[in-house]
């Protein structure tokens, strides 16, 4: 940790990341050391294998999807900027940010962006809708192998029925937001990074 990590990360980069994501200096250095510890190939980027080496992620039902979320389209390497950009979604929302002027672009960790991130994890084909098949896939991953397809199908149907308001038998992003309006997303989707 310590000096070796910080020399590899230039101050200007830290500043840029700070501005883009809102993380503090110490948080950025801490995450950078984590990044380097994951980066076994030591080439400054992470590949899918590096992520898959994390043991708990392998048993997580959503492990693959989470890994994919870090990689932007078509690429198979994640640099530190992209790493931080993804993680920024999970920064807790701070009170002083709520007063910011609306003209500046929405911070990455706003409630909307958090929900958008989650939505994209469902929506694999990126058509801005969660279709029945996509929902079924997620359900299957979370529930395991003991449950029959029919039962899962009925759960999926019911879920879509509950949320669907425009009758397209799929959940669009506004519908998704509406369904979760009672859930305290700010708290649920935030990780308390230690100061």
């Amino acid at each position: 940790m310590g000096s070796r990590a910080s020399t590899l990360l230039r101050d200007e980069e830290i500043e840029e990341i700070k501005k883009e994501t809102g993380f503090s200096h110490s948080q950025i250095t801490r995450l950078y050391s984590r990044f380097t510890s994951l980066d076994k190939g030591e080439n400054g980027t992470l590949s899918r294998e590096d992520f898959q080496r994390i043991p708990e992620l392998a048993i997580n039902p959503l492990g693959d999807r989470i890994i994919n979320a870090f990689f932007s389209d078509g690429e198979d390497q994640v640099n530190f900027r992209a790493f931080m950009r993804t993680l920024a979604h999970f920064r807790p929302i701070e009170d002083n940010e709520k007063g910011k002027d609306p003209s500046s672009s929405e911070p990455l960790n706003s409630r909307n962006n958090k929900l958008l991130f989650a939505f994209r994890l469902y929506d694999l084909d990126k058509d801005d809708k969660i279709s029945r098949e996509e929902l079924l896939q997620v359900l299957r991953m979370m529930v395991g192998v003991n449950i029959s397809d029919e039962q899962l199908g009925s759960i999926a149907d019911r879920t879509i029925q509950e949320a669907d308001q425009d009758g397209d038998s799929a959940i669009s992003f506004p519908e998704f937001v509406k369904v979760l309006e009672k859930v305290d997303v700010e708290q649920k989707m935030s990780i308390r990074f230690l100061h």
């Binding site: 997580n60 807790p92 009925s154 669907d164």
Partner: protein, 776 residues
Amino acid sequence: MWLGNLPRSSSRRGTYLFLLVFLLGTVLPLGVASSPDSHGTDAPQDTKHEASNGHGHHGNESHTAVKKAFPVLNFEYESVRLPFEIALWILLASLMKLGFHLIPRLSSFVPESCLLIVVGLLVGGLIKIVGEKSPVLHSQIFFLYLLPPIILDAGYFLPIRPFSENIGTILVFAVIGTLWNSFFIGGLLYGVCQIGGKDLEKIGLLPNLLFGAIISAVDPVAVLAVFEEIHINELLHILVFGESLLNDAVTVVLYHLFEEYAGVGSVTFLDVPLGFICFFVVALGGVFVGLAYGLLAAFTSRFTTHTRVIEPLFAFLYSYMAYLSAEVFHLSGIMALIACGVVMRPYIEANISHKSHTTIKYFLKMWSSVSETLIFIFLGVSTVAGPHSWNWTFVICTLVFCLVARVLGVVGLTYIINKFRIVKLTTKDQFIIAYGGLRGAIAFSLGYLLPPDHFPMRDMFLTAIITVIFFTVFVQGMTIQPLVDLLAVKKKQETKRSINEEIHSQFLDHLLTGIEDVCGHYGHHHWKDKLNRFNKKYIKKCLIAGDRSKEPQLIAFYHKMEMKQAIELVETGGIAKIPSAVSTVSMQNIQPKQKVTERALPQLSKGKEEEIRKILRTNLQKTRQRLRSYNRHTLVADPYEDAWNQMLIRRQKVKQMEKRMNNYLTVPANHPDSPTMSRARLSSDPNAYIPKPKAGIPAITVDPASPQSPESLNLVDELSKRTEEEEEEGIVMKMHTPSTDEVFTSNNAEKEQRLMRCLSDPGPHPEGEEEEPFLP
């Protein structure tokens, strides 16, 4: 005619009040006449003694030559004295409760606890006037009999999710807050004692600190009583309530520590670290004891499939044993009880039958309600009766210091806590937390326990304690509701959890766990996930009978929802036209407090049906409010009790008849019905099941007191016959969404099994109480 209505309703009220007063008039003198020494421990011996004397006397009499006439009517009160008095007091308490709710507007702005204390005062005054010695709230009785039901009720229905999310904050408030309070109050009072008059000077530092420890603990009974009625948002409720529960450990340690050494007169420096260690032993030991008993209870419930009737007993007995065992070792009994309730609940509910679950719920609520009532009444009685020694300086200073200490403590601790919280506590929150620090009967009982020889100032302490209790309960209790409204504090949200929320919440949990792993941060989600996995892999297999151990939580939740919808469908009769006047489950027990927001409803092709279902659903939703665990006073009638089976049967009949009508175009013959069936049917309709579109359709008469197991066995058999029949016929009418039909028209054996299991033991809490992973 405008005069017509008014006198009628007021005269009805008047009749009720008159009846109540009349009853009281008869009950009270009896109580008064029989109350002296009623709760002392010598009473049982006395009665035994006298009873044996009586018998001996009779025996003697029969042997002597002088033969009296055989007494046709005898009056022998002494042998039943104790149970009689106890029952009388409980009856009085319950009648009081009844009375309050009959008086129209009183209960809306005066919390019940205040009214009960006033009643206690009145009764105490009455007893004093009559000249008898009034019963005092002996600490033994309080701690052994009155307190455990309340705590068990709180622990069993503790909302785990908000509790575990805020556990850090709660612990800080409970431990550090209470320590701060006791030392602040104790220290300042010592200073006041030194300055104040000569009778105060004798009180040393240790007694003052002890007094500080006693008075500083926030009382769970009082908090429950007051907070239940104000429906504050979940976060604040759990913070204050959790604090009141967990500060018991601190109170126990401080109390014993100071009590020990107050006799000696001084505390050496060695005792301070010992005190710390003692605290950890007390707290963790209590939790451990509770955990052990909870797991035992869960394990036992695995084998109770053949003795369903005594299932609730195990839950109660194991918890009580946990409490008593903890008390034996001077560990924190309250924490043991809470731990036991929390641990055993998910497993017991997976194992026991639906009826047992209802029994447990109702018994807990009933006992805790009675306990609470008795506690407050006795507080009032003890106030009138108890030896008092009023000292203006001491009492006023105590009161002031309590308030000041509470405010300072809350503000200071929140400042520190907010650095670690994601959702910060606002000033409004802090105000409510500080204002909600009510003292109650625990403080009084602890004060009462003080041995008078070591503590000559005990009476003064008691007076001060009672004053503080009265102040907090009356002043703070009464004004908190208007303050909450004034400050526009967020209220409780009365909504059901939809399947969307459930799925997405789980999804987010997994997501967050994954992200935490990527960051290498072992946070809340990580440990929760680990615990859940450990629970699923090992513990559930041991403690849950049969294949329910493998049932994922999502599926269980879904089943509950489907049952709900099934009932709704059944109640609509499953066919088009239903008059909206069909009222469902008996509304007697239901007091809907707030309107439930309507959920987004599925759009089905049969529009009219949907409309009707919507109407019914709003009616149903009003009745079937999700039982927020800590609301003791309104019990929502469980619509699944026995209505379920009947509805199911009727639904099956409906479908059958429809099929037959469609196939054969004849009116089907009458099936020989079980009595339950015929009771469940609409009375005027023996044949076709189309409900006539009359306004005067009789409400579906659900008899809540329907017979128990023998009938239900029959029901199961009938239904299995029917489902088999349907299978043979092979024509399944898919009238509605495939999901709901699948629940009923079992197309594969697995589902039929599940269905049958559902019938005999439908899931424990189908009304929407969450069955969450161990730490949701």
